[in-house]
């Protein structure tokens, strides 16, 4: 049985372990950024602008003369903040709408139609439209990306809850006179934990890429905030002159998304096969 699971596992457990290691490292960076960063990430020094990697500045400096290493380390804070925020909104909203829709079929019809309409927009376009209306800002980026993944989460939760609702033991509980809230809290929510863990790690990973894309288009977090996406966006015109400036923030985005994808993938393979179907391949990007 175990050998079979490993064989099905796309990434494999070793890779998942590597993913966890990367996540732990990034979390340490995010938590202890002010102590780990060798310099103030927003201190300007015109005289050392665009210097290549050196002993004083391991990752070089940008056109303000700011230390890229320190900015990359501080960037992990914003990445974690955005990731957690997006997951909270996507899961919070998704669980609420998904479970309500499954339990109350009439309301479900309406809510799921709304989800359908929202899902008719490609993810980035939807986030882009929301941001343009709300204005640039950390909270607005989180909200915009969160709403996008709320729709997919709601759909997954709805699918899984419907399945659970039709299971024999829920029928039995109903026959024994259990009330709706009890069914939800006793029988549905506990069974949602593992599929939602999978969804959370994918949403976290996608949130990194979407946030970076918004930053790159100049529609994300305000540019004075050191995020990896902003660093790439600000330095892009220097790519022929200082190609290393884009290298490190880009790698960080890739590593953050990669590690979460690895963990999510391994977790999905361990899911109950009946629940796996809800994920299909239709994760939004």
């Amino acid at each position: 049985m175990t050998t079979y699971a490993t064989a099905t596992g796309f990434g494999g457990q070793k890779l998942a372990f590597a993913g966890l290691l990367i996540i732990a490292t990034l979390a340490v960076c995010a938590l202890f950024a002010p102590w780990l960063a060798p310099a103030d990430p927003i201190a300007i020094d015109p005289l050392v602008r665009l210097s290549p990697p050196s002993a004083a500045h391991w990752f070089g400096t940008d056109h303000f003369g700011r230390d890229t290493l320190s900015r990359v380390i501080h960037g992990s804070r914003m990445a974690a903040f955005i990731g957690i925020g997006v997951v909270a909104i996507a899961l919070g909203g998704g669980i609420t709408f998904g479970v309500l829709s499954a339990v109350f079929p009439r309301l479900g019809m309406l809510l799921m139609r709304i989800v359908d309409v929202m899902m008719a927009f490609p993810a980035l376009l939807l986030a882009l439209a929301l941001i343009v209306v709300l204005g640039r800002g950390v909270e607005n980026s989180i909200l915009a990306i969160g709403v996008v993944y709320m729709t997919t989460t709601a759909r997954i939760v709805y699918g899984v809850s419907l399945r659970l609702k039709s299971e024999v033991w829920v029928d039995a509980a109903l026959a024994m006179g259990a009330r709706t809230p009890r069914i939800v809290f006793r029988h549905i929510l506990p069974n949602l934990v593992s599929p939602l863990f999978v969804q959370a790690s994918f949403v976290f990973a996608f949130a990194q890429l979407q946030a970076a894309s918004l930053d790159f288009l100049g529609l994300g977090v305000p540019p004075e905030t050191p995020t990896w996406g902003n660093m790439i966006s600000e330095s892009r015109i220097y790519i022929t002159r200082a190609p290393w400036l884009l290298l490190f923030p880009g790698l960080m985005i890739a590593l953050a998304a990669f590690s979460l994808n690895l963990v999510g993938d391994a977790a999905r393979d361990r899911l109950d096969p009946r629940l796996q179907a809800a994920f299909g391949g239709r994760s939004r990007s």
Partner: protein, 315 residues
């Protein structure tokens, strides 16, 4: 099957209508106005106001929406405020770039993803399987714009092998050779999107190995290779069809960024540029077309999938 078709197509129109309303309202909530953008830094408030009136921006939202909707139904998406040409013309021109880019990307994805997925499945659990899987997952985690910028740096600016940007129409000067302009953008776009098809191919190949076709076939005295080829082919087709639907959504999203990086005259960049210029008719027309396209392709893929794979329950 027929009932499934009717139900799917029946849901299509209300969704589109609701989406059109959402688009319209969203766009009017954007701060800023096209008259001020157009007249520039030195314009007087009176001049801006006069132009707003001439552009019909001072009427009520409901009137504007209904007028727009009735025009859209008749196939008229209005005129661009900025370019003074029909929006539909802009979209058709932009679609050439975007569709060719998507097709070229799909060629890379399928041409690379299918074989890799098959190899990974054949060597399941091996060192090769693990590294192929890891690699494809890493590519899926890399931002497209970042890859794009480095591709331009290396292949256009340093080596000079390929054009850096832009895309002249294949119907104009240069002809089909102009497709080389889409090489770098399509590679940048294919890299992160190949992972899905690799995973789906691998999984469906494993299904083939696992299922009893082979054993049954052998019992019947049919050469197992023939069975595998038949099932492998069918599964590969299914994988491509479903991956096409899944990937297309991602391509449309990411094309917004890729077209911006490579200065391609496609619909994705048009959306971003029009937002910056507050060119309302173009923003709403383009997004509406994208949504329409997106819904239509998803519908087509679902129907095709249902038709190809009788195991699919027609929920």
């Amino acid at each position: 099957m027929l009932r499934y078709l009717i139900r799917r197509i029946g849901a299509f129109l209300p969704t589109l209508l609701a989406a059109s309303f959402l688009i319209f309202v969203f766009i009017r909530l954007i701060p800023g106005d096209p008259a001020a953008v157009m007249l520039g830094d030195q314009a007087t408030p009176e001049a801006i106001e006069a132009l707003r009136v001439e552009m019909g921006l001072e009427e009520s939202l409901a009137v504007q929406y209904l007028r727009w909707l009735s025009d859209v139904v008749r196939g008229d998406l209005g005129d661009s405020i900025f370019f003074q040409v029909p929006v539909l013309e802009l979209i058709v021109d932009g679609l050439e770039t975007s569709v060719l880019l998507a097709l070229m990307t799909m060629v890379w994805i399928v041409g690379f993803g299918l074989p890799v997925g098959m190899v990974a499945a054949a060597r399941r659990g091996s060192w090769l399987d693990q590294s192929l899987s890891g690699m494809s997952m890493f590519l899926a985690s890399v931002p497209t714009f970042w890859v794009g910028l480095y591709l331009i740096l290396i292949f256009a600016a340093i080596l000079g092998w390929l054009p850096s940007s832009g895309y002249p129409s294949i119907f104009g000067e240069g002809g089909l050779a102009n497709l080389r302009y889409l090489l770098l953008p399509s590679i940048a776009l294919a890299a992160p999107n190949a992972a899905l098809i690799i995973r789906l191919t691998r999984a469906s190949m494993l299904d083939v190995y696992r299922e009893d076709y082979v054993r049954t076939a052998r019992a019947k005295g049919i050469h197992p290779l023939r069975v595998i080829v038949r099932h492998v082919f069918r599964n590969a087709l299914l994988t491509v069809v479903s991956a096409f639907g899944f990937t297309l959504a991602a391509l449309i999203s990411e094309a917004v960024v890729t077209e911006t990086v490579f200065s391609l005259p496609g619909v994705g960049r048009m959306v971003v540029q029009s937002i910056l210029r507050r060119d309302y008719p173009v923003i709403q027309g383009t997004i509406l077309m994208i949504v329409l396209l997106y819904l239509a392709i998803n519908l087509a893929v679902d129907i095709l999938y249902a038709w190809l794979d009788p195991r699919v329950k027609l929920r």
